[in-house]
Amino acid sequence: MNSIEILPVVIAAVFCLLGIGIYALLVTRNLIKVVVALQIMVKGALLALVAAGRLAGNVDLGQSMALTVIVADTIVAVVGLALAVQIRRHFGTLDLKSIATLRK
């Protein structure tokens, strides 16, 4: 399968992954699941960057940008999980609605 045939498949996968990630962000109430949803969205963004590089005729530029996104995504996961662990210790729950103290 050459690139011109694979690109619509990749773009469709990008849309699906972004959609699943945003949907999970909207409906989930578990802090660790929120990090999972963010990870799924970033997978879609990675594919989109490399596909855009291929469309522009410079796949190496897309790859170098995707590498930065992978590093940022890993750090987001680490910081998010560390926050979730500390919140669990402090509040005793991972439920987003229970820890939203600004509403009270």
Binding site: M1, I4, P8, L47, A66, I70, V71, A72
Partner: protein, 163 residues
């Protein structure tokens, strides 16, 4: 054919990852989605980033998830979601449909010739600002790992009282 199967597998793994109740199972399905995304990147002609995604996305991040779930514990939350599911699904379907309507017809145009740049030249020479940003991010990540590994203050007090 292979690309369609791999893309469908990645999307399927992502759907299961967000729909299962157990956090540990969710993290494992996320690792599957990550591995299949790496395979898709390889098929797209980006082998370097595919290898990095496979080792970091499917390996390191999964280990971090398992570690954090082990510390925080499983807590299945089955209460009503903040945004109604039908509303969230409708908004996402409309947005994704609009994106597909705008973008997919453009893909039928021919692809341009590949430029002769290579990955190393782009990364080490042309994107120095990104390198600096990554150094700062890695430092922030190290600080976050220290936070993740820090001892629970209540447990520490309990230990000191025991002595």
């Amino acid at each position: 054919m292979w690309a369609i199967l791999v893309a469908a597998g990645a999307v399927g793994c992502a759907v299961i990852a967000v729909s299962v109740r157990r956090l540990l199972v969710s993290a494992l399905w996320l690792a599957g989605a990550s591995a299949l995304t790496a395979l898709l990147l390889y098929l797209l002609g980006a082998p370097e980033i595919a290898a990095i995604e496979l080792s970091v996305g499917a390996g390191l991040v999964t280990v971090l998830f398992v570690f954090a779930i082990n510390i925080a514990g499983e807590e299945p939350i089955e209460k009503k979601s903040v945004v109604p599911r039908w509303l969230a699904g409708g908004i996402i379907l409309a947005a994704v449909g609009l994106l597909a309507f705008m973008d997919l017809p453009r893909l039928t145009m021919g692809l341009p010739e590949m430029a002769g740049n290579d990955f190393m030249l782009n990364f080490w020479t042309n994107r120095r600002l990104d390198m600096l940003l990554q150094l700062i991010l890695i430092f922030a990540g190290v600080m976050a790992v220290v936070g993740l590994l820090s001892e629970d203050p209540a447990k520490r007090e309990h230990k000191e009282e025991g002595k």
